[in-house]
């Protein structure tokens, strides 16, 4: 038992360090940093390259990677991105950090190579020394983690509570503008906080690599697990985050001791513990306080008065652009052949899934991070109904979508009182829970081959399926455009901006949000079914929440409120990697993912996405070239005077 507790302490300590880094940046910058895990991976990969590949000694390698490179990443991210996000909408904040989370591992793969690393050394010297504590073996790697968490707690507490710097950081929470008026540069304080946070991320990366493995997904999952401690801390209490993080690690380890090790139940339950903890604390917070509000770390009235409100320029493209785009894309499947038609088919299927984001985030303003899960429900449901139960394919797709829609409605109802950041976390948690508890069932995995889904006779070829998919996309896009232009569109616009004002004019926020959630889950499930048709089988691993984050990054880079953007994003997601695979050297492979991440980062500056930005600029140039025509300016951010 003691052995399990000591092992659990290691994971608990890692959760605690990660949770501390996340809470500090949220408190000081108002940003929940989804790229924390990616930063940890990048620094750990750099350390590996210095120490293992280039044979650098441990101490200089640690100084270069954790001591210099990690804070430098924080500084660069602050200067290039985070300092522009303080007063951005929660959607933009989340999506921009998701973009960094997508781009950083791709950058690491581009610089250091993509070969998988099976054994990564930590900062403890090799051969690894093993000590015995109460007859339990404890490795030097584990002891390093304990030392790190104790040091972090001691230094963090002293700095935040008893130093001038700590006072300035705490002042930033309320109002950077007021901090500025008192003679402190909020920009410098924020830069220091980001450097400290990425230092912590780097430290976690290096000390945990031998324990969790040097793989970007492992680090992202570690970060997401730490979110549970962040939620328990209500996004603000550092001591609670640390205690819950440590407790969670120990609980997981002790459960491993109690439960039968070879049972599939154990294998499903253990990874789900952080997500169960998230759910419990969210429910506890909502029950105790009536709602799960995000911290109002967006500055005070003065901050808003003196800042540009760039996100207000966000607006959907006119429907007129859809026709030429569809006319151009339509013949693609005719012109292309073989491999490329397959990519178009998959891209169109993905575009249908993307429409669910357009509806949910673009129109409803609800930051859900589990649309990939609903796509998975659609794919697995349709495959089960058609293959195992013999339903006709259209009915199977409809049936699966009708299974997903109530799930979306129930999740919408349960999360209706949550703030945007809480909502993002709870939906991500829901997705990961579904992955661990439902998608891993043998009924769906079928020893790794997934559930087969045969194409119908009328859409047997890739080309025919591409056109059926495109027709489905157009119908669903028309429904979304219709919603946007109707009274419901006005209602969603109202709820998106100010739920209180909408309520006090007679709008039922609950009804509008819940119905939007249900409709979006339906659309995602239909898209998921088409993805399964395109692949010939529903593979649960293709619908992971982490893949969903990359999907979101691609879509927001193109335009989260544009149905045309959804189509282009779907095709971009499949055709660009296809192009790289066929025409460029293999080391280019991470470039598309890097570009997708950068696209999401650009949303910080252009919230309407690159497509709308390009089209508006093209319009502006055309207007300038036209003699005596009124010049249409690209929308400029306007000063809001309050």
């Amino acid at each position: 038992m003691l052995q399990f507790i000591i092992a659990g302490l290691v994971f608990g300590s890692l959760y605690a360090i990660a949770a501390s880094g996340l809470v500090v940046t949220y408190l000081s910058a108002g940003i929940l940093n989804f790229s924390f895990g990616a930063t940890a991976f990048f620094v750990a990969r750099l350390y590996y390259d210095l120490h293992t590949t280039h044979r650098m000694a441990i101490i200089p390698a640690v100084i270069l990677s954790v001591g210099l490179a990690a804070p430098a990443i924080g500084l660069v991210l602050h200067l290039a991105l985070f300092r522009y996000l303080r007063l951005a909408t929660p959607v933009v904040k989340i999506v921009a950090t998701v973009g960094v989370a997508v781009a950083l591992p791709a950058t690491a793969n581009l610089i250091f190579g993509q070969r998988p690393i099976l054994l990564a050394p930590g900062i403890a010297p090799r051969p690894l020394r093993v000590f015995r504590v109460f007859h339990v073996p404890v490795t030097m790697d584990q002891i390093t983690v304990y030392i790190c968490v104790v040091l972090m707690l001691a230094v963090g507490t002293v700095v935040l509570r008893h130093t001038d710097i700590g006072l300035r950081v705490r002042a930033m929470v309320d109002s950077p503008a007021m901090t500025s008026l008192s003679g402190t540069s909020p920009d410098r304080v924020a830069a220091a906080v980001w450097m400290a946070s990425t230092f912590l991320a780097g430290l976690i990366g290096v000390v945990s690599a031998p324990i969790v493995g040097l793989d970007s997904n492992s680090f992202t999952l570690l970060m997401i697990a730490a979110f549970a401690a962040v939620i328990a801390a209500r996004l603000r209490s550092l001591p609670v985050a640390v205690v819950v993080g440590v407790a969670m690690g120990i609980a997981g380890s002790v459960l491993q001791y109690i439960l039968p090790p070879s049972s599939s139940f154990t294998q499903a339950v253990i990874p789900s513990i952080p997500f169960a903890v998230t759910t419990v604390f969210l429910l506890w917070n909502v029950a105790r306080r009536g709602r799960g509000d995000d911290l109002r770390a967006n500055g005070g009235v003065l901050d808003r008065a003196i800042s540009y409100q760039r996100e207000h320029a966000s607006a959907p493209l006119g429907w007129g652009w859809a026709v030429p785009v569809v006319v151009v894309i339509g013949p693609l499947a005719l012109v292309l052949s073989g491999f490329w038609v397959g990519l178009v088919t998959t891209g169109v299927a993905l575009a249908i899934v993307f429409l669910s984001y357009t509806l949910l985030i673009g129109e409803g303003g609800m930051v859900w991070l589990c649309q990939a899960t609903f796509a998975g429900v659609g794919a697995l449901g349709a495959a089960q109904l058609a293959t195992a139960h013999g339903w006709p394919l259209p009915l199977a797709i409809l049936g699966a979508a009708l299974i997903a829609a109530p799930m979306g409605i129930v999740l919408g109802l349960l999360s209706i009182r949550l703030g945007d950041v809480h909502l993002a976390l709870v939906t991500l948690t829901f997705g990961l829970l579904m992955e661990n508890l439902a998608f891993t069932r043998q009924t769906f995995t079928r020893l790794g081959s997934g559930v087969a889904l045969a194409r119908p006779s009328f859409a047997h070829s890739d080309r025919a399926l591409a056109y059926v998919g495109l027709a489905t996309f157009i119908v669903l896009a028309l429904v979304i455009v219709n919603v946007r232009r109707s009274t419901t569109g006005l209602v969603l616009g109202a709820v998106r901006t100010s739920a209180d004002a909408a309520r006090t004019m007679g709008v039922s926020v609950v009804t509008s949000k819940v119905l939007t959630a249900g409709l979006a889950a339906f659309v995602a499930a239909v898209g998921g079914s088409f993805l399964a048709l395109s692949a010939g089988a529903a593979l649960p691993s293709q619908y992971s929440s982490l893949i969903g984050l990359v999907w979101l990054a691609v879509l927001v880079g193109t335009g989260i409120r544009s149905t045309v953007g959804a189509l282009l994003a779907g095709l971009t997601f499949t055709l660009v990697p296809g192009f790289v695979q066929v025409y460029l050297p293999t080391w280019f492979a991470p470039v598309p993912t890097l570009l997708f991440g950068l696209g999401a980062i650009v949303v910080a500056k252009y919230p309407e996405g690159s497509l709308a930005m390009q089209i508006r600029q093209a319009r502006s140039i055309a207007a300038r070239l036209r003699p005596h025509a009124p010049v249409e300016e690209a929308p400029r951010p306007e000063m809001v005077v309050t």
Binding site: G290, V301, Q309, E311, H312, A313, S314, A315, V479, V481, N482, V483, R484, R485, S486, T487, T488, G489, L490, V491, G493, A494, R496, T497, S498, D500, A501, A502, R503, T504, M505, G506, V507, S508, V509, T511, S512, L515, T516, L519, E638, M639, V640, V641, T642
Partner: protein, 266 residues
């Protein structure tokens, strides 16, 4: 939702009975009772932190009271959510105007009108060409009338993003009036307005009271304006109602002078 017909003060459009609210240990409202007669303007004044905005929050359903009741047109709506109170005829504006980003000035008024006259149904809007339907002539007429009344017709097609504070306030008032309320709560409606804009708002409000019988409850720091407009004035101080009466009675009240007015208005 629980609504019940309540024995309230005869004919009151809005009645608040024994409202108490505390945030942690801070008492925001303590046993506050007041009423608003139909087709009248009632003022609610008090120094900063007196509890005026909290009172609006409780009346409109955004803040839950620890004790007390809210009665709207004789119906107890204490347990009703904010949107159900609004559908029963309770409108409000906010101290910091809450306009909807991305919507035009005209959209705001249309939305207010449709919430009252044509409730949105997502399924019919999505699947039955809701977005292609032409705007009914009577709706267009009502919307144009309100935009004209508040002097913002020329801004009708402009997105509200970046509008000056005063104009945002006019948009918010137009939107609230579009919902055809029987009781309208106005939180500092003249703050940030120019003289001409204030005149337009006063004219619109008087017309709403005179022609539509709307009862207005007005929170405003511009005390002379409140005293000039209102038939009844209530005064809050540290969460307690310290005086109620006609403007003349309020001017002469010693407690009000001591707590709020000072000697300037005497």
């Amino acid at each position: 939702m629980t609504v019940a017909v309540s024995p309230s003060r005869a004919g009151a459009a809005l009645e608040v009975i024994g409202l108490s609210v505390a945030f942690g240990g801070v008492v925001a409202l303590a046993d506050v009772s007041l009423s608003v007669a139909p087709a009248s303007i009632t003022g609610l004044v008090g120094p900063n932190g007196a509890g005026k905005t909290t009172a609006f929050g409780v009346i409109s359903g955004l803040v839950h009271p620890d004790a007390g009741r809210v009665v709207l047109d004789g119906v107890d709506v204490t347990g009703a959510p904010a949107h159900m109170r609004a559908r029963r005829g309770l409108g409000r504006t906010f101290q910091h105007p809450q306009v909807f980003s991305g919507l035009s000035v005209r959209d705001h008024v249309i939305l207010g009108d449709r919430v009252r006259h044509h409730r949105a149904r997502m399924w019919s809007d999505a699947f039955l060409a809701g977005g292609l339907r032409r705007q009914p002539a009577d709706e267009r007429e009502r919307v144009d009338d309100l935009l004209g009344l508040l002097g913002i017709s020329e801004l009708a097609s402009r997105p509200v993003d970046g509008l000056p504070l005063g104009t945002s306030r006019l948009v918010e008032i137009a939107r609230a009036l579009a919902t055809a309320p029987s009781v309208l709560l106005l939180d500092e409606p003249f703050s940030g307005l120019s003289g001409a804009e204030t005149d337009a708002v006063v004219s619109a409000l008087r017309r709403a009271v005179g022609e539509r019988g709307v009862a207005l409850l007005l929170v405003e720091h511009d005390v002379p304006t409140v005293l000039a407009l209102s038939s009844t004035v209530h005064v809050l101080d540290f969460g307690r109602l310290i005086a109620s009466g006609t403007p003349a009675e309020i001017r002469d009240d010693a407690r009000v002078r001591a707590a709020y007015l000072g000697d300037a208005l005497v």
